[in-house]
């Protein structure tokens, strides 16, 4: 038997690459795996990525990415890189090589049509910012398990190579921007924010911009809490220390924490310890510890015994964010709404069903000494305090999140009823056209397998509301018009106006009379055309979600919260998006902003016409319409062009 010749790794790669290059265009797939495998072996070598970098143009031109998802680098999205890198196997290898190709483009080594040097640079910066954890590997249990194979080593080698080629300064500003935008939305769930801040911490040890350093430090302090009383002590020690402080020092401590909380929406663990301490011994300092507005202060004073009770039951270390919720709840004056106090009191004492109790307790680690009622009350405080901070998590339940948000804003009593029903009875009912629908009788909703990373209230409400929503859709099908015309007013309640218009004709599936649709939207919502009627309740509207190239991705539910002029005098639509992701890019230059245009925390905003160009369906009040004909023809055309050239390319367009 002859001996297999041992080649060195670079020669093996070159040989595989030559074969790929020589292959017929249709047969590239037969030779790609050999190149990928030899590249993988090369990646294990210290200078492997440098060698691959020099051959980047050749391997792309030879057809390594042909017919696969990495074929066209101009269509790659930085936020998908993490997923591919963690997919393992050849998916990871392909992704790594795609990055190497990007570096060659960014460095001007490879002049690639469709991707400029600058574009490649910003892509890589974003990739690095989103994957700082790979750049600074963590020694966590998860990383350990994921790192069983060689994929993790290779990823780290790539990122080492990237940081040699690119400056860390540009990553840090990208990362800070991501955190800023996430924080601006004040989500109830802050796990992701905290994770990013912790990743950013590692950048402090490298050469980065002073302003980025300051911003990262600010977020770190908000999470960890920097106290003048003791440095890096544990919460028990801190509690003991508090006993020795005089009122002036306590006040100082209180103000420092509340300032940080208001700036970032993040609550430090010491802050909880302090508030619980003050609640017992110095309730007069609570207002300072929360930095309440005048209205909040008045609310606190009016209901002090109840708030003290609420702190005892609902403000705990494992759910520390509810302290921020409590602050905003007081500032909003929600307690002045008659049904709220008895509604919350009911939840404090509620007899929670075993399965619901179990899922609530699963939200915290064991051994915390918390009851399901504690958790549910903490969740209720958050939801009532941060109606725009409610998120759908990883679930396809935008409609339900939108409902919880709307009720929290305008019908807290109703929301409290629903919470009690779900937790105590494990059933919610709704009356639709004279018939009562019980969630306990329904089996299927949109959610197959609920992703449980949700706030406590959403966790217990979503399974019921989702099933009811699906049942309402089922009952409204085949009526010749979009189901939401009937579903929304029943599902959300009387706050939804009865007028309804949709882009798609459900009978033909085509876009029909688009211009009429746009005119009606302007005439009912734009202050220049709608006779000055203000939007009173959030309007649940449907939008087309598009990717950063304007390509149609799917339908999504958001609520228009208000329509107003921004600081430049442009009319913008301010909306609540239950999918509270930081920066979104819907293509055609349409990028919802979350800060910078007078957005209230949790709102996104877009110029009116840009929002209109993604609109799919909306409700309106038939008695509050302006003159549709008055809407400028050019404006309508502009919206139509944006629509046609993006999601609209997926549909047939018909005139009326």
């Amino acid at each position: 038997m002859s001996v297999k010749v041992e080649m060195n790794k670079e020669e093996a790669f070159d040989e595989a690459l030559d074969q790929l290059e020589g292959a017929y265009s249709f047969a590239k797939s037969m030779y790609q795996s050999e190149v990928l495998q030899t590249a993988a072996k090369l990646m294990d070598e210290p200078d492997g990525f440098s060698i691959l970098y020099e051959k980047a143009e050749k391997f792309e031109q030879a057809g390594l990415f042909q017919d696969g998802p990495w074929e066209d680098p101009s269509k790659l999205q930085a936020n998908l890189v993490k997923g591919s890198l963690r997919s393992g196997g050849m998916t990871t290898i392909s992704e790594l090589l795609s990055e190497v190709r990007m570096v060659a483009i960014a460095e001007g080594e490879y002049d690639r049509e469709g991707v400029s040097k600058e574009k490649a640079h910003s892509f890589l910066n974003e990739v690095m910012a989103l994957n700082v954890d790979i750049l600074f590997p963590e020694e966590t249990e998860a990383a350990r398990i994921e790192g069983k194979g060689k994929d993790k080593d290779r990823m780290e080698n790539l990122f080492q190579f990237l940081s040699d080629k690119l400056s860390l300064a540009s990553i840090s500003s990208q990362l800070v921007k991501e955190i800023d935008e996430l924080v601006a939305q004040r989500p109830i769930m802050v796990k992701r924010t905290v994770k990013m801040v912790k990743h950013a911490e590692q950048l402090l040890e490298t050469e980065i911009d002073a302003s980025d350093r300051e911003a990262i430090q600010k977020y770190l302090d908000a999470i960890n809490g920097r106290t003048t009383v003791c440095d890096r002590c544990d919460v028990k020690e801190y509690r003991d220390q508090l006993k020795h402080l005089d009122e002036g020092k306590l006040k100082k401590e209180a103000r420092s924490f509340s300032q940080s909380m208001h700036e970032t929406g993040l609550v430090a663990p010491y802050h909880i310890v302090l508030v619980r301490y003050l609640n017992k011994h110095h309730p007069e300092l609570l207002s300072d510890a929360l930095a309440l507005s005048n209205k909040g202060q008045a609310n606190l004073e009016e209901h002090l015994p109840f708030v003290q009770n609420l702190i005892t039951v609902g403000i705990h270390l494992p759910l520390k964010q509810s302290l921020y919720g409590l602050t905003l709840l007081l500032d909003r004056g929600v307690l002045s709404s008659n049904p709220v106090i008895p509604g919350i009191r009911r939840i404090i004492e509620l007899d929670i069903q075993p399965t619901t109790r179990k899922s609530l307790l699963n939200l915290v680690n064991g051994n915390e000494g918390l009851t399901a009622n504690n958790i549910l009350v903490a969740g209720t405080i958050s939801v009532l305090g941060q109606p725009l901070g409610i998120g759908q998590g990883m679930n396809p339940t935008c409609q339900t999140a939108r409902g919880i948000s709307l009720w929290s804003l305008h019908a807290p009593g109703h929301l409290l009823d629903l919470i009690a029903r779900a937790a105590r009875d494990e059933d919610i009912d709704i009356t639709f056209e004279g018939q009562t629908i019980h969630s306990k009788d329904l089996r299927e909703g949109l959610v197959d397998d609920l992703h449980v990373e949700l706030d406590p209230v959403s966790l217990i409400l979503v399974p019921h509301l989702d099933r009811i929503y699906s049942e309402l859709v089922r009952r409204s099908n085949f009526r010749g018009e979009d189901v939401h015309k009937w579903v929304n007013p029943v599902y959300y309640g009387n706050w939804v106006p009865r007028g309804f218009s949709s882009v798609i004709d459900p009978l033909s599936g085509a876009v029909s009379d688009y211009r009429g649709f746009v005119r009606l939207f302007y005439a009912t919502h734009h202050p220049d055309y709608n006779e000055g009627y203000e939007l009173i309740y959030p309007n649940p509207v449907g939008i087309f979600i598009t990717d950063s190239f304007g390509g149609f991705l799917g339908l999504h539910a958001v609520s228009i919260q208000r329509v107003a002029q921004d600081q430049n005098g442009d009319v913008r639509i301010y909306f609540y998006n239950p999918n509270n992701d930081s920066s979104q890019d819907w293509g055609q230059g349409i990028q919802p902003s979350v800060t910078g245009f007078n957005e209230i925390h949790g709102e996104s905003s877009l110029p009116f016409h840009q929002f209109a160009a993604r609109l799919y369906a909306f409700h309106y009040n038939q008695y509050e319409q302006g003159d549709a004909y008055a809407v400028d023809e050019q404006l309508v055309e502009k919206v139509e062009t944006l629509a046609k050239e993006s999601w609209g390319s997926q549909y047939t367009w018909t005139a009326l």
Partner: protein, 447 residues
């Protein structure tokens, strides 16, 4: 009629019958396998990239006949292509009838011969070649490689050793066969230790439709009315191996043996020395097979059992490219392109010189190559996990495991289903390769 008369009649009739028999040409009808001198192109029936590559490399005029889903890709890469919907015909005769329309189109574009790339299309190539040669028997000949009962009977007639088998229409017939086989083995009174029998679908590739019947309860539980018609067969114990035989004018030009290290999962080429020892015996059986099946041109993929008593039994034979990446393994160790050799052998216009140049003269492998098919083991998977020690093993060559495009896998009830990727090995020591191929069967590559 008086008894004496009847006896006289018997003698007379018997003699008459014998005379009648002796005056006839008996045994299988011999087919003319030559390709007529008309139509320059070869039509590849079915879409297979390695085969298209091979036919381009050997520069033979061709056209691919396949489902229209491939049309766009074919046009993009200038592959001569004709879309055709093969559909799901209910019986072979329907294929023959439907092939007329395709045949007319092929004649118009100068096709003179067709080669099937997949099991399910063997009868289509048979039907088209029958029309091209104006000989319907060519179609029937192709069915020999598809209908398992016809195949076994033909092998049996040709003197190959086969298990006892019967075609069955219902569960009652399976039960009768099961009892009779065990009665012959004197195991009728031992319900627990009855010998198993095998139930097989009549014309499915690989292990699809295969059920092992250990008891009468199994007949009830493992078979449904949809399983029929089928074939039942006595059990042969021993090693199962496959061969890939390149045939030209009825002669074996190259014989490869493949070891199924773990059936359905992994193969190794060439096999370990223990199996390689049987090469001369296998060679003889293959010659018998070629004779029995009247094969002149082409590549066959038969399976044999080597029993504990060192006897070789015929399992089945396919007239197509084997699955499980066996051709890739052959290419790796023997250094020729089996996809090209397949086309050359299937085309009677090929000259012996062309083939001799293409195929190695001696069976001299460069080490052992093995492949291991990775199936999903869980219902959900989001990630590929390749163990470090596997990747670092000197005999590890490459893998083709990508993140699955869907997170949930469909359960396959039939056969081993589609594998998601493959792991390849290449090394000196057959023991080591076969150990590697066994070790990772239970490993979760998809988590």
């Amino acid at each position: 009629m008086p008894v004496s008369n009847r006896e006289a009649n018997f003698k007379l009739n018997n003699q008459n019958d014998r005379e009648r028999m002796n005056s006839r040409k008996l045994g299988p009808l011999q087919i003319n396998h030559e390709r007529p001198q008309k139509g320059a192109k070869v039509a590849l029936i079915g879409w297979s990239i390695p085969t298209i590559e091979a036919i381009q490399q050997i520069k033979r005029p061709y056209i691919v006949i396949s489902h229209e889903g491939y049309k766009e890709y074919a046009e993009q890469h200038k592959i001569p292509f004709l879309s055709w919907d093969f559909g799901k015909p209910n019986h072979y005769q329907e294929v023959y009838e439907r092939s007329e329309e395709l045949f007319d189109q092929l004649v118009n574009i100068d096709v003179g011969h067709t080669i099937s790339v997949f099991e399910e299309l063997v009868e289509w190539a048979g039907a088209l070649n029958a029309r091209l040669r104006e000989d319907p028997a060519v179609f029937d000949h192709s069915i020999l490689f598809r209908d398992k009962a016809m195949m076994k009977r033909r092998a049996h007639l040709g003197g190959l050793k086969v298990g006892v088998f019967e075609e069955v229409e219902n569960k009652e017939e399976v039960r009768r066969f099961f009892k009779r086989v065990n009665y012959s083995l004197l195991k009728n009174h031992q319900n627990e230790d009855a010998d198993p029998i095998h139930f097989k679908a009549l014309n499915k590739a690989g292990a699809a439709g295969h059920r092992m019947i250990f008891s009468e309860e199994d007949i009830e539980n493992k078979l449904t009315d949809q399983s029929f018609p089928g074939l039942v067969e006595s059990h042969l114990s021993g090693m199962e191996i496959s061969c890939e035989v390149f045939i030209y004018k009825g002669e074996i030009l190259f014989l490869n043996m493949t070891e199924y290290v773990k059936l359905g999962y992994s193969s190794m080429v060439p096999p370990s020395a223990e199996i390689e020892y049987y090469r001369p015996y296998i060679h003889k059986e293959v010659e018998k097979l070629i004779q029995a099946f009247d094969i002149q041109f082409g590549m066959i993929h038969p399976e044999f059992f080597i029993t504990d008593t060192e006897e070789i039994y015929f399992g089945e034979v396919a007239y197509r490219i084997p699955g499980g990446h066996i051709f890739e393994l052959i290419q790796k160790v023997y250094g020729f392109n089996p996809f090209g050799a397949h086309i050359l052998c299937c085309d009677p216009h090929t000259t012996l010189e062309e083939l001799e140049e293409f195929l190695p003269k001696e069976v001299k492998p460069n080490g052992h190559a093995g492949s291991f098919l990775v199936y999903p083991r869980k219902k959900n998977a989001t990630r590929v996990q390749v163990p470090r020690d596997l990747e670092e093993h000197p005999s590890f060559e490459k893998h083709t495991l990508y993140k699955p495009t869907t997170a949930k896998f469909q359960d396959t009830d039939e056969g081993y289903g589609n594998h998601l990727g493959t792991v390849f090995f290449h090394g000196e020591d057959s023991g080591e390769i076969s150990q590697l191929l066994t070790d990772y069967v239970d490993y979760d590559f998809y988590v």
